[in-house]
Amino acid sequence: MTQPSRRDFLKLLRDGFLWMSGALALGGLIRFLDFEPNPVPKTEFDLGPVEQFPLNSRTLFTDPPSIPIHTESGFSALSLVCTHLGCAVEQSADGFACPCHGSRFNVDGAVTHGPASKHLASLRIERTEENHLILHID
C-alpha cells in the first residue's frame, strides 16, 4: 500500500468535517422536532355528583369515551377506546363494536371478535368529599 499523499489526507479531513457537520445538523433538527409543545392531555375528569349514577346504572360518556358502572360492589368504569388502534367503540346489541376495523367486545369489555386482542381497559373511579365522581384515564 502506498502512503496517502498530503492532498489525500486533507481531502479526507475535509469530507470528514462535512459529513460530521451534516450529521450534527440532522441530529439537532431531530431534537428540535422531538418536543411536545402541547399541554399534557387531561387524565382526570369530573363526572358530576354521585346521585346521577343510581345503583345498577351504566352511563355512556363520549368525552372521555367511557362507561361508569355502579354495582353493589361500588363504582367502576370501562374505557371505550378500542385497544386495537384507538377509535372509540360504539354500543351494539351485545356489547361494543369498533367502527374502524370491526373489533367487538361484550358488555364487560372482553374481546369477542378481533382484530383487537386486549380487553377494553378498566378505569379507576374516585369519590370526592363533595360526593363527585372523578374518572382517571391514565
Binding site: N38, T62, P65, C87, G114, S117
Partner: protein, 342 residues
Amino acid sequence: MRPSFFHHLHPPTIPAAQARWRYTLGAGGTAVFLMLVLGLTGILEAFYYSPNPQEAALSVQTITYLVPFGGLVRNLHYWSAQLLILVAGIHLLRVVFTAAYSRPRRFNYLLGLGLFILALLLDFTGYILRWDEGICYPLVTGTNLLKTIPLIGNFIYRIAIGGGEACTTALLRFYIWHIFGLTLLAVILSVWHAFRVRRDGGIAVPPPHLRTDTARISRNELVRREVLAILIVSILLILLASFFPAPIAPAMTGKPVMTENARAPWFFLWVQQMLKWGDPFAFGVLIPLILLAILALVPYIFPQPADSDIGRWFPKSNRVAQIVVIVITLTVIALTLLALVS
C-alpha cells in the same frame, strides 16, 4: 426558429418510437403538470386556510363557498391530488412493464418511487387539513400505527404530530409537513428525477445498434404533444372540479361523531382492510413496508432485462418483475374493493 425557454427544457430530438403515447402513456409529463396545478392552487388556498383547530374547517368552508372561484380552486387541488396518485401509479407500472428501470436508470427508479410515497403522504396530510368530523378516526389510527413500531414508534409519533392526542393537536404539524416539509422534499426529488432522466440518456431505449426504428422527432413536436396532453388533462380537471366537488363536512366538534363505518381515504383503504385481520404493526406497517421494499428492489434482484428489450412493452426478459408487480397491484386493488363493499 430560436427555441424558447420551454423548448430548451427538452432534448433537441428524441426517438420517435419511445415518444409515442402508447409507449409513455404521457404519465410522467402529466404528473409534472398535476404537480404544477397543485402548487398553484395550494398557494391560493393558503391565502385563506387557517391551521388552527378552532378555525380550520370554517376556513375551508370560506374558501369553498364564499371566496370567488374558491370552490373551483379547492376542487382543482383535490382532483389534481387524486389524479396524481393514479397517474404516478400508471407511470410506475409503465416503467416496470417496459423494463425502463434497468441500468443506468436504477437509481432514478428509486427517486420515482420516493416521489410516489411523497404523493401518498401529501394526499393524506392534505385530507387531514380539512379538520372536519370525518377525519378524526383515520388520523387516530394512522398516527397510532406509528406508535406500534418497536423502539422508535413513540419518537416518530412525536416528530410527526408533536405528541399529545392526534385529534386535538396534530393540525399545525400536519399543515407544516403538507405545505413545507413534504412539498420541499417533493420539489427536490422531482427536479432530481427529471435531471436524472436527461443524465441517464433520456427516455429508455435500446442502445443504437439494437434499434429497429431509428426515426427521431424534434423538440418542437415533443412540446406540441405535451401542450396537447396539458389541454386534455386541463379539460378533464375542470370537468371533474365542476361536477364532482371535493368532500366537505361540518367542523370537528371536539370528539369524533358516531359513524356506522369509519373509512380511510381511498388510497389507504387497502391498509384499513388488512388491519381488520389483526396485529396493527404486522398488517399496518410491516406488510406495506415489505411490499414497498420489493418494489424498490425490482431493478436489483430480478433478472436484468436484455438491452434489446428496453423500451418495449412486456418483454420476455423481465417477466419475473412484471409478474411480481402485477401480483402486488392486483392485491392492493382487491383489498381496496373488499374494503369498499364491506
